[in-house]
Structure formats: C-alpha cells, structure tokens
C-alpha cells in the first residue's frame, strides 16, 4: 500500500507544479473546521475537533466525504458527567467508521447506528447524550445523503438561497431528540432516542453549492438572511483564502463552533491554522456552530 502512496505523492507534486486539468467527474468537498465553546473568552480551547460540548468530524473514504456535528446535552453537568465526552467520542467513532469504510454512503443513519453501538462496546462506562447530524456526499452519484437527530442541522445554499434544510426534532422546549447512554436504573428517566428516529433525506447537489452543518447555536442566534449575507462574502477561488467574520450578541446559553471553508492550494492543516489565528484576533463573540463546505471540482489525488 505504501508504494501506491509514494506514487501518489509524486503525482501530487506534479499536479501542483503545473498541471491544471482536473478530473471533473467526481465531486468533492473542500472543508475546514473551526470553533470554540463558551469558555473561549477565558482562552480555553480544547484540542482537536471538540469545542465546548460540541464535537465534529470530517472524514473521507473512497467514494464519499462525510461531515458530522454533535451537540452534547449540557444538563449532564449537574449530575457530574462531562457532556463533551459523549459527543466527542461519538464523533471520533463515526470518523473511524468512515475511514475504515464500514458504512454505506446512501445510509448515514447506519453510520449513527454503528457509531452508537460502538460506544456501547467501549470498556469505559460512558455517560451522556448528544444530538447528531451527519452529511454524506457520494462523489460519484453527486448526491448528498443526510440524517439529523435533534436540533442540530444543515443548510444547503445555492445561488444565495437556501434550497435544502433539515427539520428540528424536539420533544419539548430545549429538549431535542438525543442519543444517550444513561446510568443504570435511570433508563426510564433519561431521554434516549434511537438512531432510527433520525430524519434522513437524499438529494442531488451541484457544483458551487455550499453545505452548512451547524448546532443550534447558529440557527437560534442568526436568522436565515444574516447567514446568507455572510455566506455571500465567501469567495471561492484558487488564489486566496476568504474569511467570514461573525459578530454576534453574547449568549451564554449556547456553545459556539463554526467552520469556514474556502478553496486553497495549501494543505488543509496550514490554512486552518491561519484562519484560526485570523479569527482569534478579529472575533468578539461567537455563540454558534457550523461547517460550511463549497462543492467543487475534485483534485485527481487527495493528499491524505
């Protein structure tokens, strides 16, 4: 396998060096992620893709790109359980499932179900609950398969307008549908929805579509027109990196976590760090969570 990778590296160098033709048959997502939790103002940032009680992942497999966000339910804090542990472990598990190919692109609910099942296989006794939203782009068929459990969700923006969105699932106010693992004896008391209760949908997507996946912090704080306004500023081109700035009102009840996407020539990691630093200096308050990914041509080789 490694010899194939070394071929790939050579090819990638050749491509970046000068070739401009791209294979337009498969679509792919160009993504970046960023975010922070309520403690941002105190300067605490958890490493990895976990911000406050929220977590996310971005993963690729042969024919699919997968995004996921999970919002840990904060109420567990009152019972001595760290709400971020459940959402972070769930997202890491789903990421691993995708990377190892243990999923079907057309069935994102399957990823949630397997991920939840794997959480139960952990020797460590996990407790907690979270919402989840998973979005799978099937590169060949150009279809987006989504599933959403709870009050996180996604938007698909095409030409400055929302063409698809997810529905919120709530039992009652501030109590979204959630996957949970309860302490023994409390199963009847703790809300626990099955992954099969997730809403799922599939639809075609086009080049240039922007897919935004977010937790309730975004949707509760920013009306649609404001989101669309900010997204318009997102310039997608080969030459530079665009920044989206969000200045929002203070709201201590929500965690903040957002991801900015743009097209860049550098490896993803470096660009993320740049964005990170730029945002830290310019941002004031950010109680929202989202992933934005413009749909673009794919490169012939992915730099894994």
């Amino acid at each position: 396998m490694l010899s194939v990778l070394s071929y790939g590296r050579l090819v990638a160098r050749a491509v970046l060096g000068g070739l401009s033709q791209t294979d337009g048959r498969d679509y792919s997502l160009i993504t970046a992620s960023y975010g922070f939790g309520k403690d941002f103002r105190k300067g605490i940032l958890k490493k990895g893709m976990c911000y406050g009680d929220d977590a996310c992942f971005i993963a690729r497999h042969k024919t699919a790109d997968v995004l996921g966000v999970a919002d840990g339910v904060g109420g567990w804090r009152d019972y001595g359980v760290d709400p971020s542990q459940f959402s972070a472990t769930l997202m890491k598990t789903c990421e691993r499932l995708v990377k190892e190919g243990r999923f079907t692109p057309s069935n994102p609910v399957g990823i949630l179900t397997s991920g939840y099942y794997e959480l139960l296989q952990n020797k460590v006794p996990l407790l907690g609950s979270s919402t989840a939203c998973i979005v799978v782009l099937d590169r060949r068929s150009h279809r987006l398969h989504t599933c959403n459990l709870g009050d996180s969700g996604f938007l698909v923006v095409r030409g400055g307008e929302v063409v698809h969105r997810s529905d919120e699932q709530q039992h009652y106010f501030n109590t979204p549908f959630q996957l949970s693992i309860a302490p023994p004896g409390a199963e009847g008391v703790v809300l626990s929805d099955s992954p099969e209760a997730a809403d799922s949908s599939s639809f075609d997507v086009q080049l240039g579509d922007i897919i935004l996946t977010a937790t309730d912090g975004l949707f509760d704080n920013m009306p649609d027109y404001m989101i669309l306004q900010e997204l318009k500023k997102l310039k997608v081109s080969l030459q530079h990196v665009s920044l989206c700035l969000y200045v929002l009102e203070t709201n201590s009840n929500f965690n903040a976590f957002f991801i900015i996407a743009s097209r860049f020539r550098l490896p993803t990691m470096t660009a993320s760090c740049r964005l990170h630093r730029a945002l830290q200096s310019k941002l004031m308050i950010l109680p929202t969570t989202l992933i934005i990914c413009p749909l673009l041509h794919s490169l012939p080789v992915t730099m894994a």
Binding site: L2, S3, V4, Y7, E118, N122, K123, V124, P183, P184
Partner: protein
Amino acid sequence: MLTLLSMFYYICLRRRSRSGTRGEALTSRRAVESGQRAVLPVSVEVEQYAKEVLDFSSHYGSENSMSYTMWNLAGVPNVYPSSGDFTQTAVFRTYGTWWEQCASAPLPFRRTPKGFYSKDYIELGFEEPVYPTAVEVFETYYPGAIVQILACSHNPFTQNPPTDVRWEVLWSGEPTKVLTPQARQFSPKIKHIGFPTNLLRLEVNSSLLDYYTELDAVILRGVKERPMLALYKMPIIDISDLSDSEEELSDVGGPFRQGDGKHQRTGNGYFDKLPYELIQLILSHLTLPDLCRLAQSCKLLHQHCCDPLQYTQLSLQPYWARLSDASLGHLQSRCTLLQRLNLSWTGNRGVLTLTGFSSFMKACGLSLVCLEMSCCHFLNEACLEVISQTCPGLQELNLSSCDRLPPQAFTHISKLTRLRRLVLYRTKIEQTAILSILTFCIELRHLNLGSCVRIEDYDVVASMLATRCRSLCSLDLWRCRNLTDRGLTELVSGCRMLEELDLGWCPTLQSSTGCFQHLARSLPRLRKLFLTANRTVCDSDIEELAASCPCLRHLDILGTRSVSAASLKKLLQSCPQLVLLDVSFCSQIDMRIVQELSGLFPNVAIKKSFTQ
C-alpha cells in the same frame, strides 16, 4: 487509475534524471558507463502495513464491531506510541493462566514438543509479496506475547486455488513477560527465506502476562527481487529437514521390505533383553516426529513405534503447517486405540479434505473420546456428519472459531449423546440446532456458546439447559446479546451444579431485577463469575456473593460505577480462595484502593486496566 499514476511517475522520474539530480537511474547509468559493478543495491526495500486480516483464533470484541477486534491489526497504527487499553487495538480473548485453571479447560496433550508455545494466532495478508527482511509488531499494551512468526508461499489474494502451500518459520521464541505494560515496537531478527511472501502468521502466548495483550499494527519489510547470495544461503535440504517433512510420516514402510526376506534372526543387542513394556515407556517420551524417525531405524523399533498403544493421545496441532491427507493416511493404521485427538488449526487452505478426514475418522473414531477441532476451516457439514457417525462415544468436541461451518452442520452434533464438553465459541450455530443438541445431550458438563451471534433467544436456551442439562458445571455465555433476568433465574434454578458462569458483555441483564443476588444464593459452589461490562452490578450483588459463594476464585466486574471499596473488602474477606478480581474501569475503585486491597490480600491478583 494505476496506469495514469505510473505514467506520471515515469514522467517525473525521467524529468529528474534529465535534470541531473541524484537518483538511482543516474548512478546506475554512470556505473555501467564506468564498467564497474553498481555499488547501490538493485532492489529497494518495501515497507507495508497489513492489508487485511484473514484468519484468527479468537478475539475480545464483538463480531460486528471494530472495538477490541482482530480486524484492527490491519492498516496503520491507531494508538502507538501511546500505551493503554484502547478500543482501536487487536485483543485476544484470554490472557494468563486463568482459563487453564478452570474445570472447563481441556487436559493438555502428551508429547507436546517443547518449542511449541502457541495458544492463539492471527494471519495477515499484505499487498505485495516480498522477500522479508524485517517484521515489526506494534504492541501497545502488555507486550511480550508473540512466540512465532511464520511466512507462507501462497498469495491469499489470487483467485487460483492454493497449490504447494509452504509455511516457513521466520522467528520463534518463548513467551516473555515485560516488566511494564508500556507500548513497544517488537522487531525480532528474522530468518531469510527462499520465497516471496505476502501472508504472515503471528502466534501468541499470553500466559506470563498480567493482562490482555493488545496489538496495533504489523509492518512487513522486504525486497522485491531475490536477495543476493551473500545475504542468504541456498536452502540445502539436510537430514533434519527431510525427517521434518511428511515423508517420514509416510515412508515408514520403506526400508524394511527388502530386509524381511533375508534376515530372520533379531540382532537388536540389548533391546532384545528389555521387556516390551519398558521400551514402550521409553518411547512414550518422544515427540511425534522423533517417533516416526525412530520407526525407520530397525524392525523391532518399527514394531514398537507403530504400536497403537503409543497413540492413545495424538496432538497434531504443533504440526499444523505440515499435516496433509497423506500424513493422516499413514497414521491411520496406528490410531485404532485413539482416545484423544487434537486437530486444531490443521487442514486450512486445502491440505485436508473430506476424503482424508473421513477415512481417518472411520479408522479411529470408535474409541475416540475427545476431539479438538478449533479453527479447522476445512470442516463442512459432511465432516460433522462423519464425526457423528464414526464417534459414538465422543465426550468432548471443540469447534471453537470454526466460523465457516454452515448453521445446518450443527444439527449432527445432537447424535453425540454422550457429549460432556462442547465448545462452539464464534460459530454460526442457530437456535434450532442448539435446542436440539440440548435435548439429546443431557450429560453436558461444559458448554461454551461465547459470541454465538446467530442464536436468537438465549432465554429459551437457558430454560432448555435448566430442564435437560442438570449436571451442567460450566457455561460460557460471553456476549450473548439477549439473555434477561428471566432466563438467568431459570438457569440457576435448574443447573444447581454450576461452578463457572461467564456473562461478560451481556447487556440485557439488570441488577435491579435481583437476578445476580438470586444467582449467588442459588449457586453455592460458584468458582468463576464474569460480569464484565455489566454496568448495573452494585454493592448488594457483591455482598450477596460474599455471603453465599465462599468457593469463589475468579470474579470480573469491569466497568461498573456502583461498586464501592467497602463491599469489595467484604468479598475478599469472605472468599479466601479468590485469586482473580478484575475491577478495571470501575469508577469508585481507583489505584489507591487497588493498592490498599492488594496489600491486605496479597494472594489476589487485582486487575485495574487503564487507557492512559
């Protein structure tokens, strides 16, 4: 896609050599021009991670999971260099000697060669066949279990059926115990072999280790072209190799045919003076290959070595790589009094077939009492039918990890009505077959249904056991997914002789129903109880065990939040025979408490696993 890539590679390489940068092409061209031998090696070393896990004997995790399962050994390391008990590693089912101390363990076979330590194995396929120069294993938790590394000449990814499958030992050693459970990269010095390989087999023995060993990844380093003569020597077929092959098992009749006509007198020196039984006793200490070699030495010893009394127990597991239909055929005549037969791990990749197997079983099945057939993938329904017909007196049958047997094959087992020990770990047996077996095999003492995922309703199975198999002594229901308190209560009410019960990872048992307390009260002879990852075990359960089960020796309560140090202390005081207590991931029991309890009760091995 691959031709595109190779085209790019070719273009880039040509660009490089034209531009005059360093490169092997340039150097070798220069070397050719200067007329000297090239200094650089012609072949490049290739480094590969395992592409796929092809076969293994056991694992800790669940059958459709990626946590603690053998499939994690493929690909790049997920955990290394961290040490700890992580889900992304490959973990075997057992460790230490705890399982061997149980009554459900089979007796060891005589004549096991000294250098054979292997208890578990895993086979890995790599992308490209290479002549191996190094094998590296990333062990991330309690290392030291690897005892043998073998390479196979057959490419597992070809569509062709396997022909001339040869296994060569790259390295073998003794099981070791490393002082700390920290991760390490294990890279023993391997032998150079004469064929390219992309199929490796690791054999392990964790009996010296304090906890489950965990493996993260395996690297195979090798060269594509055959290494130069200086690096390895041609395989000379010497005497010891010859006698190690099946030829010696098959050729026993050879030297004596011409001898019979000419010499009638027996000129065996002092051997003629020894009583028959004494020579038999001496021969009983030889390993099987030595016995076969000895049979070729003279007529008297040939007679001794072929005496069926030497073959009441036969373990062919250490010779799994060399056993074939022909070998079985030649052993047949000596095995008429065979009582215990170990064919575990043999016959894979087509070396044993139904014909050879059934002919052997017909010859020796009548007296057979114990048959070990763990990981025998050549078995099919017809083979099980043969067993049921030829071995009416069979008392022990081990089909552990025979996961290619179709479900309907297991119905034949119900004809073996004298069965006392039955191991079906990781098989595809279904509800009807197991109920049928339990109906007819009422003398069952030891039953292992661990990871039998195709059984639909374990409560019904438990109920049947309680009704029919009242002398049941040990029961392994590891990972049985739907046993509830109803089934468990019926089970312990009916099988009062139970001494060992493994209910690890059974998610549907709830302590709040009182089933564990009822269990403790009903089974005063209980010696082993595994409640691994049953998150509902609480103090009252432990206290009831302390009060009712004084013979308790092994207890595993991994992963519960509701057990405190006080009840454990009570348990340790009341159960003086306790030697194993696993409290890993029990939130109320931290390392300080473990050290305190270990100090008070030094005979108990208290296990506390960690993730960091």
